[in-house]
């Protein structure tokens, strides 16, 4: 399989419907067949009872009806109850004095009916609970298998495409060490482009991973840490832009790896689509039940048309500089959505664009107490 077939396989894995994405935890409904079984088994017992009535006692007949209830209850609670009602009616009508009426002369038969009812309910409930557990475990196994296949395919695609890139990048950096002038610049171009391709690949793999249903691993992470680690990977891109940071000393409930990638994409997007020297602002704060990240620039702003189009896969704004392949912002939206969050693009007053990401949470970041006294007192 070549890497693209593998990627295709990943999409099919999530779209073929073999993997249900919404778990159905309700117990399965009893089928019509189970009701037919209930009616037929009671009818058979009634017929048998009528034939054998001269030779058996009422107690034996009651046990025979119990058998019918048991058989029916294997089909679920509904058929079980149906059989109970039918058995009680039939037993009463055909065998309890006065025969051929629903009247009951001997009150002790009411106990028989009550026991029938109890047995029918108990068996029916047990069976339906067992069925539900079985269905759930089957679904869980299916899901685990799909998850495993996804992980295997992803890592194999990643390896196939990254290894050549790593060799190109590595060899070019080796050559750069001993070169100068125009040749050094050319080698730098190879390195830059290899790294760009590597970032595109990261985006492609991320969007595949997130869209195929891999759940974010959420943890409570300080906003400063999220912003800091993303910015540290963008040093060269940020060299030409004054950066303003307003990052609150708060926590966000996010997958740190995915959130870093979202921030890298948004900041990189800002550096790519704005002229050198224009400022970029990164703001991060908490609202009562969400963490909010904002990346704002003073570039040419959003392209014509509805703002949300920038989040479409393969969308490319027609700005002055050549961008990527139009995946960066689509990845951002996929990551935000995977966190049950949202992302919006806003045209700023005074020019420029702003992207705002909302990561909702339960509004209860864990408290970390540090009762420690300062260690070293000023001397």
């Amino acid at each position: 399989m070549n890497p693209f077939e593998k990627l295709q396989g990943l999409y099919e894995l999530s779209e073929s419907g073999r993997v249900p994405t919404v778990p159905d935890s309700r117990p399965p409904r009893a089928t019509t067949r189970a009701y037919v079984v209930a009616v037929v088994s009671v009818a058979v017992m009634t017929a048998a009872g009528v034939l054998l009535a001269p030779y058996t006692s009422h107690a034996d007949l009651a046990m025979a009806f119990m058998l019918a209830v048991l058989v029916a209850a294997l089909g679920g609670r509904g058929p079980g109850l149906t059989a109970v009602v039918l058995s009680a009616a039939s037993f009463d009508f055909f065998f309890v004095e006065p025969v051929h009426t629903f009247a009951v002369a001997d009150r002790s038969f009411l106990i028989t009916f009550a026991v029938m009812l109890a047995v029918g309910i108990a068996i029916g409930s047990l069976v339906s609970r067992m069925r539900a557990a079985e269905a759930e475990s089957r679904e869980r196994a299916l899901r685990a298998r799909a998850e495993e296949m996804r992980a295997t395919l992803l890592s194999s695609v990643s390896h196939d495409l990254r290894t050549p890139l790593a060799v190109i990048n590595g060899t070019a950096t080796s050559l750069r060490e001993g070169s100068e002038g125009a040749q050094r610049k050319q080698l730098q171009t190879i390195i830059d482009e290899a790294q760009r391709l590597s970032r595109i690949l990261t985006n492609l793999l991320s969007i595949t991973k997130v869209e195929s249903g891999t759940q974010p691993k959420r943890e409570w992470v300080p906003l400063e840490e999220l912003v800091g680690s993303a910015l540290s990977r963008l040093e060269p891109e940020l060299a030409e832009h004054p950066l303003t940071l307003a990052v609150a000393d708060e926590l966000a409930h996010v997958d740190p790896i995915l959130c870093e990638q979202l921030l890298i994409n948004l900041v990189e997007n800002a550096t790519k689509h704005t002229p050198d020297g224009t400022p970029i602002e990164v703001r991060a704060r908490r609202e009562p039940r969400a963490a909010i990240l904002e990346i704002a620039d003073r570039g040419p702003g959003l392209p014509e048309g509805p703002a949300e189009q920038v989040f479409e896969k393969w969308f490319r704004g027609s700005t002055m500089r050549v961008g990527g392949v139009g995946l960066g912002l689509a990845v951002c939206r996929a990551i935000a959505v995977a966190h049950d969050g949202s992302i919006e693009a806003v045209r700023r007053d005074g020019g420029g664009a702003m992207f705002r990401v909302t990561f909702p949470d339960d509004g209860a970041p864990p408290k970390v107490e540090d009762a420690d006294e300062p260690l070293a007192k000023a001397s």
Partner: protein
């Protein structure tokens, strides 16, 4: 570094081996290569390399098994080669005794810097601990439990101090969340990672000029932290 230092490269992709060989030989290392785990296991015992570069995905098995068998008798630094989206593998390798990792694609300077740090650290483990640790403008006086930044005293809580000392003793090297939690809060630490993150954030605010653009305390998302030395 002495010119006689031998580096074992364990990598199944021939072009990758060529690049690594070229880069390492240019720097004066002696390079031996293995493309399978079986060969690697043999070469490790015969040549006793000073450092090992290990790709985790090998055709005849998981690189972790080599790591585990090497760790039973050797403390030679092992640097794992891995991809950007394999954070769990990196953590597993680091927790199993690997010294550091390189994320593909990486350049020559990154490669050599990691090897230098790993070799220096392997040697330092045999030398007695120095009383004062120095990381750029930051000085940690271990005898007096005092930390200064540019000559100015920094007031740290005991937890922050322990974190800083640990990172400084392993300066340049990544430490996983689990390694930091175990060392600072004890082997039976039940604290969650967010506990560590919050204390790291507090430490960052005390020693970094701009905590959202740290110079020293670098975050390796999904893996751990690293105290940067050469910036």
């Amino acid at each position: 570094m002495t010119t006689a230092d031998t580096v074992l490269v364990v990598e199944d992709e021939a072009p990758m081996r060529r690049f690594l060989r070229g880069a390492l030989q240019a720097e004066g290392f002696r390079v031996i290569e293995a493309s399978t785990l079986a060969t690697a296991k043999l070469l490790v015992t015969v040549h006793v390399p000073a450092a090992i570069l290990l790709d985790l995905g090998l055709p005849d098995g998981d690189g972790l098994t080599l790591l585990e068998s090497v760790r039973t008798w050797s403390s030679a630094p092992v640097i794992v080669l891995s991809a950007r989206d394999r954070e769990d593998d990196k953590v597993a390798a680091l927790d199993a005794g690997a010294d550091d990792y390189l994320t593909k694609p990486f350049g020559t300077s990154e490669l050599l810097a990691r090897i230098r740090v790993a070799l220096r650290h392997a040697r330092a483990q045999r030398a007695p601990d120095t009383p004062v640790l120095t990381i750029g403008p930051i000085k940690i006086d271990q005898a007096r439990h005092e930390v200064t930044n540019d000559g100015k005293q920094v007031h740290l809580t005991p937890t922050e101090y322990r974190l800083l000392v640990l990172l400084a003793r392993h300066a340049g090297k990544v430490l996983t969340h689990r390694q930091l939690l175990t060392d600072v809060w004890g082997p039976r630490s039940t604290h969650q990672t967010h506990y560590l993150r919050v204390h790291m954030a507090a430490l960052r605010r005390k020693i970094e000029e701009d905590p959202a653009r740290p110079r020293f305390l670098s975050t390796e998302p999904g893996v751990g932290y690293r105290l940067l030395t050469d910036r």
